[in-house]
Structures are given as structure tokens and as C-alpha cells.
Symmetry: C2
Subunit: 340 residues, 2 copies
DNA sequence: GTGAAAGCGCTAACAT
DNA sequence: ATGTTAGCGCTTTCAC
């Protein structure tokens, strides 16, 4: 039981080499004879050496800077929660001598690219990014890679990028979950609408995946429901495309956080609504029964995990999980409070 | 932006005293002249000093030991998950030079007390405990307090104890959630049974609270359903008390992890079942539709958080949250995978 | 009451 | 190729 942790000094004694050599072997910095390498690695294995991370990072104590690139959050409760998660991580990161700089972007591609450029100029030690634009992201990521700056993605996965970690949800599965809930809410039959409220729908792969998941559930279970898809644009959205379909529909699956907006538009009180995200208005409607179910994407946790991963990477050189898929939380009026 | 962190040395220079004096002031260890105290505190305020936690804990590197007191887990998937959570925390804790010792107890009070005694003899630096016995716990906790050993509770809250933190669920609320789900699963009418499978029901306050929450939902919503409660004993449980009620019941709420056991007993395939915990058999039945919904108590997270809290307390003297209530996760066949 | 100095474990620069 | 050593920031012991 008395398993004191071995130190570099212990290893050097056991392997009968100097501390410097041990360090060189551990970090593969070369200039070591094969025999020495062998002796040291042997000891390393035998004792199952775990370096003292505290000491390691104390030594290399440079003032680490993380850049966080996220959409403007002042008027957006989803991204506000994300910022809260970052702030929570920042607290801890600060105590170890780091800082986080925020680079927010207006929801336009140009602004996104501009924010990114600023980051590239500032050369931080690591980057956390919520990249809502797919196509535009890849070339920007390449630049980070050229500068050897590690980066972590949250919320939106971008394929073919060499990020250290992606933290978010399996969107296809979340669509399946939504379908199951809808099915439960509408026993028997009843038409359902899938509604995307998003300007740049083509470029929003995650919404496509939600829809695919949703439809796959009914296909697989051989439930024949009529399902129509609509994409709405504008702020506030132009509802006219819905006009005809809404009369016969008994349920709506809203793939963005706009469930409450649709709820206000639709007069039929009995229509069942499943949506995403715990925005204040969504919560209000959930509590008074006007929205039935919400799926929680946990922006707070995503951001916090992202910062944690990066701090551990910078401080202790600990490699993060490549993909962290957060659970697909089902939220009702009864359990909503514990997700806030 | 160039906010380098100040060090003790900086402060000593600014206040024109020695590093030792600065340290004595910071830690209020006395033997300092009033003038020195004043000079130092003034500087401290001006620069908003944040000690480098890394260095602090590197120095005071005593080999920290945490004791984990939990029920035997070899044949119990719930407590196995708890152990996994501890193990995950242990990984990190080890890297900072700590160890965790396990003290498991057979599900009897005597064994619980015995395990506790062993802990008291070993005098660890901190204790994580899952105290399934209410009445027996308090005097044992007092002994920890006498020894000034901080302890954290998971799973079961014990009132009037001076624990550093409780991590678990709001059981009353989880009963409410179960009720809402049951209501959704049984549109309109249908009798429901509440079933406790527990030897020492009287001493299990958390089960009472689940029942209260469950009933309160229906009362509050003015849904008049017939609800009967049964408590089963024995291993395997003696089902005879159920015999009469089961024929007319359309739903069962099982307050422990034994949903699958009841599922196997009841012949009526159509009966709706809401239970707790992701045991392998529960998961199997959930996936093939024989159980409808499960509530996840997240033992893994509870344990992990508990260890994290204690390590941070020991390493950095960081006080944990007094109560951390984990979300009441609703689990269905579609989202179960992301909770595993 | 105060200051000087050693040392926690690891890293990297500098000798050899 | 290998060994030695200074030093990261903090704490604590030991002189004074």
C-alpha cells in the first residue's frame, strides 16, 4: 500500500544513469546511447512511473494564453451559457497563471474570418473555437496548424480538420431521440413538421443530421407518419411557407433554439412541440406546458470541457480525448431546474 | 494584457521585507510586527496577488491519502460504476502524488461500521463515503470530525452532518419526473404501483422521498389515478404481496434499480415500467422495449466529483460546493448509449 | 520579529 | 553521450 511515487532521481539511481539522461529518454530528446535507453525504459516500466505533473508545469511556467472564438453572446442565451462555461474554466486556469482572450463574431462569415485573423495575429498558445460556418473554417484551421497552435472545437464538428478534440453532441442521435419523444407525445397517428430556422441552411450540416436522425426513427420503426420539412428565414422568421401545412399538423420538431418563436406563431394550443436548448423563453413555455420537451445541448459543459482540455494540454501536456460526445439530455417541465 | 503573475519575491521587494515575512503574513502565522503586516497587506491588495497553486502544492508535498468507503461492488453494477468514477479521479490524483484506499462493506450495518473503524484507524487525509445507512452514520461522522478529517458524501445525504460536500440527486424531484413520465406513458387513466425493493425500507429516507415526489405530481395536477405502494423483501424478492394488485395495474414505478427483476416477474407485456439506474439488465430491457424509461443517478459522476473535490481540497485548499445536485437524466432506448 | 537558505520534482542549459 | 546544476514559486526551518 505504501506506494510512494517514484521520482526522476529514483529512476536515475535504479537505472544507474544521471537524471538528465532519464529526462532525455522520457522526452525522447535524443543524444542517448541505446543501452541507456534500454536501462531506463526497463525501470520506467517496472515501476510504472507517473511524472509529477505539478512539478513539471511549475518548471515550464510560461504565461499561457488561450483564445476563445465564439459568436456574439450579449443577446443570445445559448452563447451566453457557453461563455459562462468558459468563465468557469478561466477561474481555474488563472490560478495556474493563464489568461483567456475572447474574440466574438457577429453571425456573418466575414466577421468570423476577421475574428480569426485577429487571433492569428495575437498568436495565442491554444484556441477554443465554436465554428458555426463549415466551409469557411477549414482554411482558417490550416493556418493554426501552420503555426502549431493546438485548437479544440465545440458545438460544431468540422470534418478533415486536425483539431485536438471535438466536444459536442451526436446530432443524428439527438434527432432520433426527438422522434421517439414525438412518437410518445402523439400516440397513434398525427402529422409532424420538421422546422429549421436558419439563414444558411445549406451550410449547416448539423441540422441536416438532426433531420436524418428524426426521420430514420420512424422509418426504422415502420411508423407511417406524414413528415414535412420546412426551412424558415428572416428575423423574425417569415412563417408563410408553413401556412398550409400547419392546419393538419399535430406536432412540430424545431431543430434550432427557436421553439418558443414557433409556439407563439401557431394558434393551435394542442400541437405538440419538441425543440432544442434552454433559452429563457423556451423554459417558460416548457414550464407552463406550451412546449412539451426540449433537448439540452449543454453549451456550458462543452465550453468548460474545452477550456479544461486546453489548460491540461498546455500545463501538463496531457492529450485530450479526440471526441467527447455529451449526453443527449431530455428536458421536461419537471427536471428542467436541475439543468440550469 | 501583460498581466504577469506576481510572486512572493515580487511582493517582498515591493514591501521591502523578506520572503519569509510575506509568507507569514499571508498565512497569518504570527511573529510579525504590525508595521510589516501593514506594508505587506497593502502591497497584496494593490497587486491582487494570486498565489501559484502549482508551486504551493509542490512544496507541501505530503503523500495525500483518500479513503473511499462504499458498498461491495463486485456483483453490483451500480456500485461498480461508482468505483469507475473513483478510479478516474484516482488517475488524476495519483499524478499529483496521492493515493486512494478502498474500504468496501457488505450491505449490513455491522460491516459498514467495521469498515469505518478501519478507516478511522488508518487516519487518511480525507474520506469519500457512500453512507447507505442513515441512523448509523452520524456517530461515525462525528469521529471523523473529532480527528479533523474532511469528508464528502455521495449518493445518500445525511442530515446534521458536517460534511464538506454532498453530491447526489434530489430524490423528491426524481420521483416527480418519474410521475410525469408515467403519466405520459399512460394517457388518460390506468392504475399505477409504486414498488420499493429494499430490506431496510424504514431506514431508507431516499426511497420515501421518491414516493412522495411521485405522488405529489398526481395530486398537484389533479389527475386521479389509483396509486398503490408495495415494499418487497428478500433475494430474490418475495412477490406475493403484489399478486392481487398486479392484474389491474397498468404501470409500475420501481424506486430501486430492480426494474428488470419486476419486469421478469410480471407477465403482462403491456405494463409500463419506469425505474432507476442503468444496470446491464435494465439497459437490455430498455433497448428491447420491455422497460420504458429509466432515471439515471449517475454514480460515476458522483464519485468522480467527490474525488475531485477532495483532491482540490487537499492539494490547493479549495473549498468545494456544499451541495452538488446532479441532473435527473431521463433515459430511453434512444439516448441510453450516450450515458454509458 | 526577521531574513537566509534549503528543497519539493522536473527541465534545460551547460559542462565534461 | 552523459552528468551536473540552476531554478520554477512556495513553504519551512534555522540562525540571528
Amino acid at each position: 500500500m505504501e506506494e510512494r511515487n517514484y521520482t526522476i532521481r529514483d529512476i536515475s539511481r535504479l537505472a544507474k544513469v544521471s537524471r538528465g539522461t532519464v529526462d532525455r529518454v522520457i522526452h525522447k530528446r535524443g543524444k542517448v546511447s541505446p543501452e541507456a535507453i534500454e536501462k531506463v525504459t526497463k525501470v520506467l516500466k517496472e515501476i510504472n512511473y507517473k511524472p509529477n505533473l505539478l512539478a513539471r508545469s511549475l518548471k515550464s511556467h510560461k504565461h499561457n494564453r488561450i483564445a476563445a472564438i465564439i459568436p456574439h453572446y450579449q443577446e443570445d442565451s445559448y452563447w451566453q451559457k457557453c461563455v459562462n462555461g468558459i468563465k468557469k474554466g478561466e477561474e481555474e486556469f488563472k490560478a495556474f497563471g493563464g489568461t483567456i482572450n475572447y474574440y466574438t463574431y457577429d453571425k456573418t462569415k466575414a466577421d468570423y474570418e476577421q475574428a480569426f485573423d485577429k487571433v492569428l495575429k495575437d498568436k495565442p498558445d491554444a484556441v477554443l473555437v465554436a465554428p458555426i460556418y463549415y466551409r469557411e473554417s477549414l482554411p482558417l484551421f490550416r493556418k493554426l496548424e501552420d503555426l502549431d497552435i493546438p485548437y479544440v472545437l465545440i458545438n460544431t464538428p468540422i470534418e478533415n480538420a486536425n483539431y485536438k478534440s471535438f466536444i459536442g453532441q451526436d446530432y443524428w442521435k439527438s434527432g432520433r431521440v426527438a422522434a421517439q419523444l414525438m412518437d410518445l407525445l402523439l400516440p397513434g397517428k398525427g402529422d409532424v413538421l420538421i422546422i429549421h430556422v436558419e439563414e444558411d441552411f445549406e451550410n449547416s450540416t448539423h441540422l441536416h443530421r438532426k433531420e436524418e436522425g428524426f426521420r430514420s426513427y420512424f422509418t426504422e420503426k415502420n411508423k407511417n407518419r406524414t413528415i414535412h420539412t420546412f426551412t424558415l428565414h428572416g428575423e423574425p422568421p417569415d412563417f408563410s411557407p408553413l401556412q398550409d401545412a400547419i392546419a393538419s399538423a399535430r406536432g412540430m420538431f424545431i431543430t434550432t433554439s427557436k421553439a418558443s418563436v414557433l409556439r407563439r406563431y401557431v394558434e393551435n394550443e394542442a400541437i405538440r412541440i419538441v425543440g432544442y436548448d434552454l433559452t429563457p423563453e423556451n423554459i417558460e413555455f416548457l414550464k407552463n406546458g406550451k412546449i412539451d420537451m426540449l433537448i439540452h445541448q449543454n453549451p456550458h459543459q462543452q465550453a468548460y470541457d474545452g477550456i479544461s482540455f486546453l489548460s491540461e494540454l498546455l500545463l501538463y501536456k496531457k492529450e485530450p480525448e479526440y471526441r467527447k460526445l455529451l449526453p443527449i439530455d431530455i428536458v421536461t417541465s419537471e427536471n428542467v431546474d436541475c439543468y440550469l
